[in-house]
């Protein structure tokens, strides 16, 4: 059998079978996070602080120290961690429920503090692990277990555009939304995740990447259908773009 470690490096743990569902976008994102850590040579000083939900499994597939925070609080955990261990690289990894519902306050304040922390938000527009309930990012009209006639924006508001909320924050130095719906999107995702970690390595400030990904199980679609939805309706609303890139400023003393 081919030695995959030689190809993917030591960060990605290839010994474990993942618990991600077939077709889930987490698999791609987790691999790209591991590759970014590997490429930057920061594996031994990197800590994952993961949320609750499917994103909480991500650290199982990386050979780095990890902390599973309480629901939504990963950014605050990261602030405390970074304060005491400024030389370590700390990133949070969680889904849209963890990050934009219960944890939105923690997230925005951590971003606004501008501490060198990296946040990976995996947005599949649904609470996946708990069985397909509405998320703040569920699309207008989206049928979920708790919006059985579709999300009604007059009651449940509009799908939350999280990076747009951070755009005005001076402490946020890298801010992007990418998608894994297409091979081209995956290549851009890889670049953005790498930059989000590099931003921290350089000590510049807060870095945030939202990834638009499919969730076949939570959305009750087959894999092909979920990728098509991801590449059309989801990215029509959540437009992939680099909002801010201030990572080329060099090292801060």
């Amino acid at each position: 059998m081919e030695n995959l470690s030689a190809k993917y490096g030591k960060t990605l743990n290839l010994d474990k079978l993942t618990s991600y569902c077939p077709g889930c976008g987490h698999g791609i994102v987790t691999r790209l996070v591991a590759e970014a850590i590997e490429n930057l040579g920061i594996m031994e000083r990197t800590i994952a602080i993961v949320g609750i939900g499917c994103g909480g499994f991500s650290h199982h597939y990386m050979d780095i120290d990890a902390i599973e925070a309480t629901h939504g609080r990963a950014p605050s955990f990261a602030v405390g961690y970074k304060l005491t261990r400024p030389d370590n690289i700390v990133f949070t990894y969680a889904g849209d429920g963890d990050t934009s519902a219960i944890g939105l306050g923690d997230l925005l304040h951590a971003a606004n503090k501008g501490m060198p922390i990296t946040t990976i938000m995996v947005n599949n527009t649904v609470f996946g692990m708990t069985g397909g309930q509405m998320s703040p990012t569920s699309l207008e009209g989206q049928v979920t277990a708790t919006t059985v006639k579709g999300r009604d924006v007059s009651k449940q508001g509009y799908p939350l555009l999280v990076p747009e909320l951070m755009r005005a924050m001076p402490g946020v130095k890298y801010l992007a939304r990418e998608t894994v719906a297409t091979p081209k999107g995956v290549r851009k995702t890889k670049k953005s995740i790498q930059k989000a970690f590099d931003c921290q390595v350089k000590g510049l400030g807060y870095a945030f990447v939202e990834l638009i990904v499919p969730c076949p199980t939570g959305l009750k679609l087959n894999v092909k259908g979920s990728y098509e939805r991801c590449g059309k309706e989801m990215t029509d609303y959540f437009k992939p773009q680099v909002f801010k890139d201030e990572t080329e400023q060099g090292h801060v003393a």
């Binding site: 800590i47 050979d63 955990f77 370590n88 306050g105």
Partner: protein, 356 residues
């Protein structure tokens, strides 16, 4: 910093004691009557190479506290009842994750937002826990500024020996009292403990560590809870602390903690001068509750009077400790301009019981 005697508000004494015992990072959110702790920490911690970080809520405070504690660093927070309520999510997490930290609760009146007037209303939430699951934090109830300073090294050692949060509870009146306190010279007591076998600091010197407080199998969850149960039993057996005076021949024993416990010295002296056989027990650990002090009471004790600045919370633990052997009475006040029971009220109630 060398030993020195200062005239300080006890909230400031708490801050000084934390810093002099090695606390480097303090996370807090302003709340009366605890705010002076964070204000002083903001001034003094940079002198020790540390920092006070003001967070946006107590939820964020306790989460940042957990994130910092998992590196093995000695960290602390300070708050009051409504803030402590919000902190419980991460307090439960830190108990499950076995993370050491020091916490200060300047108790005020509740429920709800209550009032800023000092009280002892947080006994239940401190000793029973405000988060879900089977857990305890060690609860220390110093009765003076000097006792805050004296007991702080022990608090740090307990936090690290058992890898658990340690909560100091002081009623808001005592917290705001200004008095002379002799503060110790600087010593980082957490340095006595090696954290290298558990701290989450990156894999440069250890294989991957994962802090997982949720279980991925029922067996994992069972084993985590049994491990915690064994630890709490050990703490309960070994760490009870109390002060007792003149209980050996007493007819009546007063049980009170914090400010009322401090008043018991005068109360017993006055009543003994009148020939009345009165003694007192002042619990210093509220969890573990010092039930050994009550189990050891002589047969001469016919009644116990519990005095609290609440509607009766510690009285439950006193009743459990004596298990029906001795009648237990209660005197308590909370709310209003001055919720504290006066010495005269305490003596009057003691005399009423003695006269029954």
């Amino acid at each position: 910093m060398t030993q020195e005697t200062l005239f300080l508000k006890n909230t400031e004494t708490f801050a000084e004691s934390l810093a002099r015992c090695g606390v480097k990072y303090h996370f807090a959110y302003p709340i009366t009557p605890a705010t002076d702790v964070m204000k002083r920490m903001a001034v003094i911690l940079p002198q020790y190479g540390g920092e006070m970080m003001q967070m946006e809520s107590e939820l964020a405070v306790s989460s940042a506290l957990a994130g910092a504690a998992c590196t093995g660093t000695l960290v602390a927070t300070s708050s009051s009842g409504p803030g402590l309520t919000l902190m419980h999510e991460a307090i439960g997490f830190m108990c499950a994750a076995e993370l050491p930290c020091l916490m200060f609760d300047s108790m005020r009146v509740g429920p709800g937002d209550g009032d800023i007037i000092g009280a002892q209303s947080d006994y239940f939430v401190a000793t029973r826990g405000g988060a879900h699951g089977d857990y305890h934090v060690i609860v220390l109830a110093p009765a003076s500024g000097q006792e805050i300073a004296d007991i702080m090294p022990h608090g740090v050692r307990l936090a690290y020996k058992y890898r658990t949060p340690v909560l100091f509870v002081v009623d808001g009146l005592s917290a705001q009292t200004t008095e002379s306190t002799t503060l110790p010279a600087y010593n980082d007591y957490s340095a006595e403990f090696d954290t290298s076998d558990w701290a989450y600091t990156g894999t440069q010197d250890h294989p991957k560590r994962a802090l997982i407080t949720g279980s991925y199998s029922h067996q994992d969850g069972y084993e985590m809870n049994e491990m915690l149960r064994a630890k709490y039993e050990k703490i309960y057996d070994n760490e009870q602390m109390w002060e007792a005076e003149q209980v050996e021949d007493a007819d009546l024993v007063i049980a009170a903690f914090g400010i009322h416990g401090r008043m018991c010295t005068d109360m017993v002296a006055k009543m003994r001068a009148e020939g009345k056989k009165v003694g007192f027990i002042r619990p210093i650990t509220l969890w573990p509750f010092p039930d050994r002090a009550f189990a050891a009471l002589p047969d001469s004790v016919k009644n116990i009077l519990v005095v609290e600045m609440n509607h009766g919370q510690m009285i439950d633990d006193v009743r459990l400790a004596v298990n029906g052997r001795i009648p237990v009475h209660f005197l308590g006040k909370t709310g209003g301009d001055m919720p504290m029971c006066t010495l005269a009220e305490m003596i009057a109630e003691a005399n009423r019981i003695l006269g029954e």
